[in-house]
Structure formats: structure tokens, C-alpha cells
């Protein structure tokens, strides 16, 4: 899941280095991507509320042309403002999370320097297309968030996000009856695309909320610190 080797140099670590320049272990980095409006920011906010008592965490957002996502998280006060950083992406979130990750790596490192030590950094991508995935040089694991209202054929269509993400979240299940989405079909299609990789169906409006995703994050963190 991650490249674990010691950096051979001083100064900022390069990409996937598991240790910081001072030799300490860096925070686990989890990416959240997916189409526009699927509920990535709401999931990040819910994860912050669920985990902030037990973990030291921070968030990096990658908006397309504004600070909307960062501002939403600030307004909701899910974390103190100094734990939320917005990266500007030049209109291309997929470039900033995959092809040229330098600005995101810097944001992550600065957060560790300024508010660390951190256990977990959530890196949220601005809404993008079904092929947008995070570089392994930036994150240790990635969550792809789709929703039932975006069409129940998305799992069947596949694409790198749906097929390869470490966790697929099908969000807004409470809306399924209203938009004619067949959750059983979505689950079967996701299974066909992803084999053994996990899928969570969630409604943040239900009592369970983000519980399953938070449990998955805790399990990744247990692996990371083991």
C-alpha cells in the first residue's frame, strides 16, 4: 500500500517516503475523489467529526476554481482553521492529485510542520471525472465517492476510480427510491468491477452516517502504524 524506505537526504521528503526529514513517521494520507456533487466534502466533514476526538487530523482540499470546499469545512467548524489547507489546481484537480502532486505534498508537509504531529491527513479532490485517481506518491490509500443520484450505471461503467480505489463509497442511499436507482444492481456491478475490494453504501442522513467509512479509515491507520 505504501513505499517504505528511508529518505537519503535532508529537507522535505520525496513523494511516498514514509518518514519525515527528521526521521519521524509521517501521517497516513488518504485521498477522497469522485464526481462533482457526490458528497466528498460532506464525507470529509463527517469523518472529521467522527475521528477528531481520537486522532490528530488535518484536511487538504483541491478546489477547481474557488475555496468552496475549504470554506464549507471551516463554516461547519469540523476542525480548527489551521488544520485545513486549500490547494489551487489551475482548473485541473486531476493534475494536482495525480500528474503533478508537488503543491499537495507541500500542503501536507506544511500541515505536519505547523500543527503536527498528525495521525491522518485527508486529501480531498475537487469533483472530477471517473478516471481521476490519486498518485501513490501523494496518498497511501484512496476512497472514491459516487452517489445513487448520479446514475446507477456508474459502477457498471467502471473506470479507474470505481475499479481501483481502495474503498468505493456509494453515497446518498436515502435518495435511491426517489431517483429510481437500483442499489442491488449497483452492488452487483461494483462487485463485478472490483472483485474483493470493499464497497460501502452510506447515507449521511441516516443514524449510521459515516460509521463504516470511519471504521475502514481506522483499520488503514492500524496497518500504517503497525
Amino acid at each position: 500500500m505504501h513505499v517504505d524506505h528511508s529518505p537519503s537526504h535532508d529537507g522535505p521528503a520525496v513523494g511516498a517516503d514514509a518518514r519525515r526529514a527528521d526521521g519521524s513517521r509521517r501521517a497516513l494520507r488518504i485521498g477522497l475523489g469522485g464526481p462533482v456533487g457526490s458528497g466528498k466534502t460532506a464525507t470529509v466533514a463527517a469523518l472529521c467529526r467522527a475521528l477528531r476526538q481520537e486522532l490528530s487530523l488535518a484536511v487538504v482540499t483541491n478546489d477547481i476554481y474557488t475555496r468552496e470546499d475549504a470554506d464549507f469545512l471551516l463554516r461547519e467548524a469540523v476542525l480548527p482553521p489551521e488544520r485545513i489547507t486549500a490547494v489551487e489546481t489551475g482548473a485541473c484537480p486531476h493534475t494536482a492529485i495525480r500528474d503533478d502532486i508537488s503543491a499537495n505534498l507541500e500542503a501536507v508537509e506544511d500541515l505536519e510542520d505547523e500543527v503536527g504531529p498528525l495521525d491522518l491527513v485527508l486529501v480531498e479532490s475537487g469533483g472530477d471525472n471517473l478516471t481521476a485517481t490519486f498518485s501513490k506518491g501523494l496518498v497511501d490509500a484512496q476512497i472514491f465517492v459516487i452517489d445513487v443520484a448520479g446514475g446507477d450505471d456508474i459502477p457498471r461503467k467502471g473506470g479507474p476510480g470505481v475499479t481501483t480505489a481502495d474503498l468505493l463509497v456509494v453515497n446518498k442511499t436515502d435518495l435511491a427510491p426517489y431517483v429510481g436507482s437500483d442499489l442491488g444492481r449497483m452492488a452487483a456491478d461494483a462487485k463485478a468491477q472490483r472483485a474483493e475490494l470493499p464497497v460501502v453504501f452510506q447515507s449521511l442522513r441516516s443514524e449510521a452516517g459515516v460509521t463504516d467509512v470511519a471504521a475502514w479509515v481506522r483499520a488503514r491507520l492500524a496497518e500504517w502504524t503497525a
Partner: protein, 224 residues
């Protein structure tokens, strides 16, 4: 030198953060100063002969082995806008990371330690060229070309400008890029004897002023 190493460093896909910056094109588009290929060419020509030439000379001097802290101070003095100084350092830091991963060198490690928040991007560019086994003119080429290719690429996104027209603009500017590189490399060659005052100090006031305004926009596509 290696011609192929120059292509690697000059490639627009070199992962050093440039994609999020428009080189002032976003502010110029909003102000109506860039509306199509012809005005894009005017804009790029102005940038090339001012901040582009300064950047090219700084990069060439760094490639020749001039003390990076002297060059960094010289870059500060030639960049009136605090917003542009911050951008140059941020991009320098990002380029440093990419360069150290691409062409590892003790010299790069030392400068990275000396400037943890980044030295000016053209200075780092020259050091990266040096680590790649490239010369002063090569470094100047990267800086001069970047000074026009950044705004051209950004304008394709900002105006939905025909990408063929934008690339033709760059091709038409090529002879001027050659000339700017010659001048920059010549100036860099005099630094050892005359100090950093030998470097050009051309500046474009509108670029500097509009960068300050752009930095305060609540909604924008590009970071600068």
C-alpha cells in the same frame, strides 16, 4: 550537455507545479488585455523581454555556479510585487522537490536545506539544469520558454482559445526567445567578475500590479 535532459527539464509536464499558474494571463484576460491569439502574442512578448529575460539570466547564472543566496537576493530585488515573490518561492520549492527526485545532487540538497520554504524558481531552475548536466544557455532556454508557454497554455483554458493558434504564437516568438537567451547567458557570464548587478533588471509594472490584485480574487482558476 545532453539534449534529451534539456527536453526532460523543459517539458511542460515536468511535475513542478507550473500547471496551476497562468503567468499573469488570468488577470490580463479578465482586464480585456488578452482576447485572442494576437493579444496573447503581445502579452507573451512583453513578458519574455521583461520578467522572462530576468528569469533566464538568473537561471543561467545559477547553472554557472554563482552563489544561490546572492541570486535569490537579486531575484527579490527584481520582483517588486510581494505576491509574485511568494509565487516564485512556492514554485521554486516545488521545482526543488522534482529536481532532487529527478537528478539527485548534494548541491540541491544543500540549497533545499538553506531555503526550506523555497528559493526563487529561476534560481532553482538553474541549479536543476546544473544537476542534469546542462549548461547556462540550456537553463536560460527553460526559463525564457516557460515565461511564454505558461501564459499560452493558461489562455487556452481561460478563453477556450484554439490550441493550434496558441502553439503558433509560441512558434512565432521562438526567434525572440533565442535572442533573449543569448542576452541572458551573456549577462550571466559577467556575474563572476561584475557581481549580480550585471544581471538584467527589466520589469513589467502592469504584471506586478495585476498580480497583487489577482492574489486577492475570491474566485479564480489559477493561483497566479
Amino acid at each position: 550537455m545532453s539534449g534529451a535532459a534539456l527536453l526532460v527539464l523543459a517539458d511542460g509536464r515536468f511535475p513542478a507545479g507550473g500547471h496551476a499558474h497562468s503567468g499573469g494571463a488570468e488577470a490580463a484576460v479578465k482586464a480585456g488585455r488578452i482576447t485572442g491569439a494576437a493579444s496573447l502574442e503581445d502579452f507573451c512578448r512583453g513578458r519574455l523581454h521583461t520578467s522572462g529575460r530576468v528569469a533566464a539570466a538568473l537561471a543561467a547564472a545559477a547553472a554557472l555556479g554563482v552563489d544561490p543566496s546572492l541570486l535569490d537576493e537579486a531575484a527579490d530585488a527584481r520582483t517588486p510585487s510581494p505576491a509574485l515573490r511568494a509565487v516564485a518561492r512556492r514554485l521554486g520549492r516545488q521545482l526543488m522537490r522534482a529536481a532532487r527526485a529527478t537528478w539527485p545532487a548534494d548541491e540541491l540538497d544543500a540549497v533545499a536545506g538553506q531555503f526550506p520554504k523555497g528559493a526563487h524558481q529561476p534560481v532553482v531552475l538553474g541549479l536543476a539544469a546544473r544537476s542534469a548536466g546542462l549548461g547556462a544557455a540550456d537553463a536560460a532556454y527553460c526559463a525564457a520558454y516557460e515565461s511564454v508557454s505558461g501564459p499560452a497554455t493558461a489562455t487556452v483554458r481561460l478563453l477556450s482559445l484554439d490550441p493550434f493558434e496558441a502553439t503558433a504564437v509560441l512558434a512565432r516568438l521562438a526567434p525572440e526567445v533565442d535572442r533573449v537567451v543569448d542576452l541572458a547567458a551573456e549577462a550571466a557570464g559577467r556575474v563572476a567578475e561584475e557581481g549580480v548587478d550585471a544581471l538584467p533588471a527589466g520589469s513589467a509594472p502592469v504584471l506586478e500590479i495585476s498580480a497583487e490584485a489577482h492574489a486577492g480574487w475570491p474566485v479564480r482558476l489559477f493561483a497566479s
